[in-house]
């Protein structure tokens, strides 16, 4: 298992299941016809399309509303705007990468209280999220929201505040164990005076400590050099590799996989896009053990279902539903962001997922979701249970069900008293399906 290119026909087929796997991880899932199209054009062409940056008219029109939405402090509307862009975007990988970096540089509105700043940070992740990591980290270190979040304005020559420097190493670039307390203190001195004024980055020279500093055994002057030193550090690539694998492949990547991706990152000069291209086109990515090896996060899960069903809904309410599932956009729980993996599932969050599924299937509650279920399944609404379940399974879960789960849901669909008839039956079967454990996996 390695990052060598996956050759369809040699390493395995690039069939609907493989296409679905790719589109679940590099996008927010797919409809059956999108998978068919991916298979038709082949892996390389599909990768080209995934890395395109034209988000399409609908998403662009939504984004144009940002100046009015981002003014003030209405977080739910801001969340809804990003959600809407994720749902409408023709280049979902850009949004997924932005979501990845939002979790990486976890900054919360709860402290910032400025929608405008949060939106600008998100736009930064969209613009630089696929590029060289150095550029992104340099820009993030000057981002007003991140600086205020990590007490940058308190970092002055007389009293260096170590928050930003510590998180730069621990959470943004190296991970624990690859730096000393002395490195943190010296880096904090280098970042003194990196402040925010009038909503913009401002290097406050009077508060900056211009004295000599040593970092990782070499002299540095200001924060920019600290960022460069962190990016050059040998631990940076493995740290990033682990995070990329967790977010885009599996919840618990192996040490060997991390080493492979880290090597690729170094070869690609820490270019995220070039590395992800190699990853998504690799044997490692398409290996059987990587399929369904990740629990979909709430945002990813909700957006995926809205895209698959072409639903119209109250996006503010969807944002709140995702928050109830454990992921409130622009408001991660702490500087470490969302832990993800198995922590996405608890009795409380599972109940919230079920409520969302109920709203999606039955159009109930504040979410006001409108799905044309009759159109989704056509004549199958009135037929036997198996074809109906198969159709919905393909639509909602990429044929994820285990045989036993499928048999249970088919039996339900064939039970007229329980499932009802017509559209109601379709809605109830869909709800059963979304409650299955397999439907929570990516």
């Amino acid at each position: 298992m390695n990052l060598a290119p996956f050759v369809p026909g040699v390493d395995g087929p690039f069939d609907a299941a493989a296409a679905a796997h790719l589109l679940r991880h590099a996008a927010f899932g797919s409809r059956p016809e999108e998978r068919d199209e991916a298979v038709r054009v082949g892996l390389q062409a599909t990768l080209e399309r995934l890395f395109a940056r034209d988000e399409g008219k609908a998403a662009a029109q939504l984004a144009a509303l940002a100046p009015s939405v981002a003014q003030g402090d209405d977080l739910p509307r801001l969340q809804a705007l990003w959600l809407g862009r994720m749902v409408e975007s023709a280049c979902p990988l850009v949004e997924k990468l932005a979501l990845f970096w939002h979790n990486h540089f976890a900054t919360s509105f709860t402290k910032i209280q400025q929608c405008d700043w949060m939106w600008r940070q998100y736009e930064l992740f969209r613009a630089l999220g696929g590029g060289p990591f150095r550029e992104l980290l340099q820009a993030a270190a000057r981002d007003p929201a991140l600086l205020v979040w990590l007490d940058g304005n308190s970092n002055v020559k007389s009293h260096p505040n170590e928050n930003f420097a510590r998180e730069l190493f621990e959470l943004f670039s190296l991970g624990v164990g690859h730096y000393s307390e002395r490195d943190v203190q010296e880096a904090a001195r280098a970042f003194t005076g990196w402040h925010v004024r009038d909503g913009r980055f401002w290097k406050n020279e009077r508060a900056h400590d211009a004295g000599a500093k040593q970092l990782f055994g070499a002299p540095v002057e200001d924060g920019g050099e600290v960022v460069d030193a962190a990016v050059r550090h040998p631990a940076c690539a493995p740290f990033l590799a682990g995070k990329l694998l967790s977010a885009f492949v599996c919840d618990a990547p192996s040490a060997a996989a991390i080493a492979e991706v880290a090597a690729a990152l170094r070869e690609e000069e820490l270019s995220i896009e070039r590395t992800l291209r190699r990853l998504f086109g690799s044997r490692l990515f398409f290996a059987a053990e990587q399929r369904r090896a990740r629990i979909a996060g709430p945002i990813e899960w909700c957006v995926g279902l809205l895209r698959r069903t072409r639903a119209r809904c109250n996006l503010k309410a969807v944002a709140q539903a995702a928050a109830a599932m454990g992921q409130s956009l622009f408001a991660p729980p702490n500087v470490k962001g969302w832990e993800g993996g198995r922590t996405w599932i608890s009795s409380r969050t599972l109940l919230a997922r079920n409520r969302f599924a109920a709203a999606l299937c039955h159009g109930e509650g504040e979410l006001a979701i409108a799905v044309d279920w009759a159109k989704q399944v056509g004549a199958l609404a009135e037929g036997a249970g198996l074809p109906l379940v198969a159709k919905l399974e393909a639509l909602l879960t990429d044929d994820a069900l285990e045989p036993a789960t499928r048999a249970r849901i088919v039996a339900f669909a064939d039970d007229g008293a329980a499932a009802g008839s017509g559209v109601v039956r379709v809605q109830r079967v869909a709800h059963q399906l979304l409650g299955a454990p397999e439907a929570q996996l990516a």
Binding site: G72, G199, L315
Partner: protein
């Protein structure tokens, strides 16, 4: 069990809307013209109406005496005769939003439904409306077993058209393919009757279409029609006619005691309100309507105006609870303010101190608790003085309120969501200097409290000021222009302030509006509402359109992010709102007391055609005002 059928779905989904739209339509449906048009035949429609021997002169005389409510109209159908060439239709079709609508799937669906209905009816939409509304219309609601019943009659131009309408109804019902069938034929009272789901009995008697919701009521109606005696119309019809002006399009009346009995409540109207301001605004109307033996309502209209008018007896002495509504001083002039950019202006003759003290009779207990809390809290703003006992009694009965668009003078980046500015104008009975000082102190106290809240949220505070304007001292606060902190949209739209001009005390949400009001008061006497006015609320459509245009992005984002609409749909609806508002010169709610009656009018005046046509540039100009 009913079975779903495409035809049935199509028909009932779009039928009603399509009929109305068809009346306005000039759609190029091929079936409309030429020999293929399967209409009733042009000669039948073109035949002049002739009186029919053996019919009552006044259809209302067929109605029973024990009516709960009645609707009565003469010549209503003729109003639709010229609809295809009417200015209303031309205005609708000229709207940019209509052009957008024509590109939508809903328009195609509408065409399908419309064409179907017209094809079956053999008439264009407006002809169908004209026929169905007839020369006379009399419709009554009567008490029934468990629920009210319906009884009525429509006089069509001639027998052929009456028979044709019956035939079309049978055809449409036959398409329902329900089991059991939706209709049956019967003979009731000697008339060939169409019985629809056992809930509607319809038959022709000459050119009159008779209908009732029960067989017994229908038999009474048929018997009366065939007897053709020259009876008096029911008292409720007579009352409706007596209360309405001669040019009324439609007259309604409701029997208060019978309706109350039917409702099983103390009164058919909620006379005690859930909100104090609602009670202050409409309490007298609701109380009088609840007590009136007959509540008459009429609809008036012409090419440019449409109005609903309610006329209630209001003879003295009125109950004590009415003393706050200003009836005793109804003869005195009531001022109106209209500064530039006025969206809404309201003038009330109300004694709020009296309304407060009579709130127990006008409002629910919950309101009483709310007022007690308000009394305790609002004293803070008046230096410990009691609002209901000391402040309000010092104010005159004339209360003015105005909402106006803002232009944000000197603001480089106005807020995305522009709220209109609002101002309240009170008049001091006496001691205006003391009152003015206390109002000014109250504003400063409120701003100080806002600033404490802002500081807790790390938001911009209001900077307090006292500055002169045209010889008047203005007390208030405004947000600093160069603060890196932002404020909530509500605060970005506000610079709360106060000024006194003579006896007028002005509380305004913005300095801009306050200055405009001082300008207006300095320019001379204010405009006034018509004599006898107790309430007058005017809304200016062009200004509403301009505001909706300014807030376009915010409205679109609300529709797309919170209501799940596509951007195209949201844009269509927003364009429609703006277009329709531009066509409205004024929407007005007014109450007047004269000749022992309280008249309430809700009127819509369309903008003059030339003005409406030029509304787009005008609104744009206003937007940049």
């Amino acid at each position: 069990m009913r079975r779903s059928r495409p035809v049935r779905t199509l028909l009932w989904r779009f039928g009603a809307a399509a009929t109305l739209a068809g009346a306005l339509s000039t759609l190029p449906l091929s079936a409309w013209a030429g020999p293929a048009w399967p209409r009733l035949a042009n000669d039948v429609l073109a035949r002049p109406a002739a009186p029919v021997v053996g019919e009552v002169a006044d259809l209302a005389t067929l109605l029973p005496q024990e009516l709960i409510a009645v609707a009565d109209a003469q010549g209503l159908g003729a109003r639709f005769h010229d609809l295809p060439n009417s200015s209303l239709k031309q205005r609708l079709f000229a709207l940019p939003a209509w052009k957008l609508f024509q590109k939508s799937p809903a328009y195609v669906e509408l065409l399908g439904g419309l064409g179907f209905v017209e094809l079956v009816a053999g008439m264009k939409g407006h002809e169908l409306l004209e026929t169905l509304l007839g020369e006379q219309l009399a419709l009554g609601v009567v008490a029934g077993e468990g629920k009210p019943g319906l009884v009525g009659a429509v006089r069509l131009p001639d027998v052929d058209r009456a028979l044709h309408v019956m035939q079309v109804a049978r055809q449409l019902l036959a398409m329902q393919e329900e089991e059991p069938p939706a209709w049956r034929a019967a003979t009731c009272g000697g008339l060939e009757t169409l019985v629809v789901r056992e809930q509607l009995f319809v038959a022709c008697h000459g050119r009159d279409l008779l209908f009732a919701s029960s067989e017994a009521r229908f038999l009474e109606l048929a018997t009366a029609a065939q007897a053709a005696h020259a009876l008096q119309p029911p008292a409720l019809v007579a009352a409706a006619r007596a209360a309405a002006p001669a040019d009324a399009l439609l007259r309604f009346a409701l029997d208060g005691p019978r309706t109350t009995a039917l409702s099983g409540k103390e009164s058919w109207l909620p006379v005690r309100q859930e909100e104090f301001l609602g009670a202050a605004l409409l309490g007298d109307v609701l109380q009088l309507a609840a007590q009136a033996p007959v509540v008459p309502l009429c609809v008036r209209g012409d090419a440019d105006t449409f109005a609903l008018e309610l006329s209630l007896p209001a003879t003295t002495p009125l109950p004590a609870a009415f003393r706050g509504f200003g009836h005793a001083r109804a003869g005195e002039p009531l001022a109106l303010v209209r500064p530039p950019g006025t969206l809404l202006t309201m003038a009330l003759r109300r004694d709020f101190a009296a309304l407060w003290s009579e709130s127990g009779a006008l409002c629910t207990e919950k309101v009483g608790a709310d007022l007690a809390a308000a009394k305790a809290n609002l004293g803070l703003f008046f230096g410990g003085r009691s609002l209901p006992d000391e402040v309000l009694p010092a104010l005159d009965e004339e209360v003015l309120f105005v909402l106006a668009r803002q232009t944000f003078p000197g603001v480089a980046a106005p807020p995305a969501l522009r709220y209109p500015a609002g101002a309240l104008l009170f008049t001091a009975r006496d001691d205006e200097e003391r009152l003015g000082r206390e109002f000014g102190n109250g504003v400063q106290m409120a701003l100080a409290l806002f600033n404490v809240d802002s500081a807790q949220k790390n938001q911009s505070p209001y900077e307090l000021f006292v500055e002169p304007y045209r010889g008047t001292l203005v007390t208030g606060g405004r947000l600093p222009k160069d603060d890196d902190r932002t404020a909530e949209p509500e605060r970005q739209n506000a610079s709360p302030c106060f000024a006194r001009v003579g006896k007028r005390l002005i509380l305004s949400s913005t300095v801009e509006l306050l200055h405009a009001l001082i300008d207006e008061l300095s320019a001379g006497p204010l405009g006034s509402a018509p004599a006898g006015s107790l309430t007058r609320i005017e809304i200016d459509g062009a200004q509403v359109a301009a505001l909706a245009h300014e807030d376009r992005d915010v409205l679109l984002s609300q529709a797309t992010l919170e209501k799940g609409k596509s951007l195209a749909q949201a844009e269509l609806e927003q364009a429609f709102l703006v277009d329709v508002a531009r066509e409205v010169a004024q929407l007005r709610l007014a109450s007047r007391r004269a000749d022992g009656r309280l008249t309430v009018e809700l009127a819509l005046e369309l903008a003059p055609r030339a003005a409406a046509t030029g509304a787009a540039p005008r609104a744009a100009a206003e937007a940049g005002r």
